[in-house]
Point group: C2
Chain length 381, copies 2
């Protein structure tokens, strides 16, 4: 039996797309994925569209329907999904479910975000909540996690900053990344302080962007030229336990465990990882949740070079959110596009040698840094 | 093998809930559904939240996560869905898929909308499109359909108006409806003209509201006291063919055909129908798409009394959108709540005698009146 596969992937470079509407970017990315899949748009039976800010910023509703209709993908189920920073990867799990349930045999997953607009400012999520008014905006919550990690495990400021050095070096080799210039350890440490100890280069930048995947099962998957298997597509959410353990991310660990179990694999089987490095400390916490190292050892893992291109388990060879940029709805899809590109051996200068299994991890965190949505997908060739 | 079932249903009365936030209404409806299901919230493995205007009006994002966490439904997959007027029923199909795919064994579907707010005015969907600027707002597009139906099939103004008389009479028997007072044929015909020939009482009113369903498969469904079977949960979208045939709604027909095929049933098997009567003409077109009568005979069907409570196939015994009100994200869920209530024999004064099979039909139409999303669910006991 053929499982659910990715048969096409497309990505618009992340950055400023001042002359493009949200729908324009989405159409372009989708077109790339469809062409890559080598099938007619009319053959795609369902569409899942992920976006966070379109309604809030532009009054856009049912954008997915407009985009898919323009592409010639008509008639089938179309759904618009919002799940914070994990919107794109949540849409991916829904497409996976629809195929696994036998409702459709193919689907397109499309994530797009336009956020480089005047006056965006701080995103106003939770603006009316007491914690936010008292200063617990998202960077502050990650600053607290970093402080706690330093306190509990002896993680150093340099180790934190090395996450950004690594991801910016990776981004420099990725033509689709927002930042194409590497940064030094000193530059990261000396960039302006955002939320102590996190400096600016340790916080991911906003961007405009779009990414798309074509998924298939059954005969459509069997007929595809270069199908990549989806071994797990997990979505989970927070348990909202209090007090919050700032360095042991319960949702993160649970999502990873579920994915490993579903795939019948473990951390030692991974050839590469894309994870949600919204802040440098986040990547370190994800190392630990993913089982790439022991609890508390995340800082040392990056310092050893284990997670850089050429290391034991390269993480965010795309540049990650810190290097490639973070257009909210597009990110979760773009991570999987990177895994697919790597498993096909088509990643050029940033290719992970002989990559056979990859994991994409995405997370939408709330002000307290708990996960509103955590997704983990495992893919293999 | 036990299929996917509805094991709990809850509905907040539709109307003005001035003192309630969107999340407050959602929590209340969800609580009713969970209590009705007779299971602990902690046992519900996934949550699907439908809403249209929260981001646009209030800047609300990831509302589903907030609501489900407050209810104690934590840890599992949670997704926020927007699909215009069919948001709630689209969320229903996603929950169905997740259970059918074996990803989870239970899920809650929650639709909520708060739209009775100062200055809402006309919804701005498509405000930048040429057709909208030229006057083709939603009521106008349905006015055109009504004119064409009159021209082509001899449908009368009285037949159109009788849809509203019927649905307002049904609503008068439904304690959860916005309008509790029936209206006469003269009152409908003489209410202010909105889009010729559609008068005000032939256009559905906005409302605040929330509705919820608990779905289950496997052992959870088998253990439920009063499970209602889901025989089909179809979502489809428009083919966007031009020129548009104003009286033969291609998406509508296709959605219904798919549902009948999936359920192995036909229109003669239906004991009741909830359909998307956003305007009186819409209900008449849906009769024809559903196969309740021949093409062009919709006006005569309502005039004969076939679709009123006690008739051959009662339609919108809840009062429909015209009588119960139309809080966008809640409507598609509320329709299925009504079918479940009727199939259980718990509908009181508006009970359809010996109801065994019911169909819920919902549609999000664009300015041209084509379907952005059309859902058809068939349920049976």
């Amino acid at each position: 039996m053929t499982g659910v596969c990715v048969i096409g992937a497309g990505l618009l470079p992340f950055g400023r797309h001042e002359d493009s509407l949200l729908a324009d970017m989405a159409i372009e990315a989708a077109f790339l994925a469809i062409r890559d899949a080598g099938i007619a748009p009319q053959a795609i039976e369902a569409g899942f569209f992920a976006n966070v800010l379109g309604g809030l910023l532009f009054g856009d509703l049912t954008v997915g329907q407009s985009v898919f209709a323009d592409l010639g993908i008509t008639g089938g189920p179309v759904v618009n999904v919002e799940n914070a920073c994990a919107s794109g990867s949540s849409a991916f799990t829904l497409a996976y479910n629809a195929i696994a349930a036998g409702e459709v045999e193919s689907a397109i997953v499309l994530g797009a975000e336009k956020m480089c607009v005047p006056g965006l400012g701080l995103l106003n999520s939770g603006k009316n909540e007491l914690e936010t008014r008292l200063g617990l905006v998202t960077p502050a919550s990650f600053g607290l996690r970093a402080q706690r990690h330093i306190h509990e495990f002896g993680t150093t400021l340099e180790q934190l900053a090395l996450v950004s050095v690594k991801n910016r070096a990776h981004a420099a080799a990725n033509p689709h990344a927002l930042f194409r210039d590497p940064v030094t350890l000193d530059e990261v440490l000396n960039s302006p302080m955002i939320a102590d100890p996190l400096t600016r280069y340790q916080c991911c930048p906003v961007a405009d962007g779009a990414a798309a995947l074509v998924l298939a099962g059954g005969k459509t998957a069997a007929a595809a030229r270069r199908a990549i298997n989806i071994d797990a597509a997990i979505l989970c959410s927070g348990s909202y336990q209090t007090p919050v353990d700032l360095v042991r991310w319960e949702t993160d660990r649970r999502g990873c465990e579920l994915a490993y179990k579903k795939a019948g694999l473990g951390p030692d089987d991974l050839d590469l990882v894309e994870c949600h490095d919204a802040f440098s400390i986040a990547e370190i916490l994800h190392y630990e949740a993913l089982g790439l190292c022991a609890e508390g050892d995340g800082g040392r893992l990056v310092a050893e070079g284990a997670t850089r291109l050429g290391g034991r388990v390269p993480v965010n060879v795309s540049g990650g959110l810190i290097g490639r940029g973070h257009p909210l709805g597009a990110t979760g899809v773009a991570q999987i596009v990177e895994i697919v590109t790597q498993l096909r051996g088509e990643a050029g200068a940033r290719q992970v040698e002989n990559a056979r299994v990859g994991l994409a991890h995405c997370m939408g965190a709330d002000r307290q840094g708990d996960a509103r949505a955590c997704t983990v997908a495992i893919l293999s060739r």
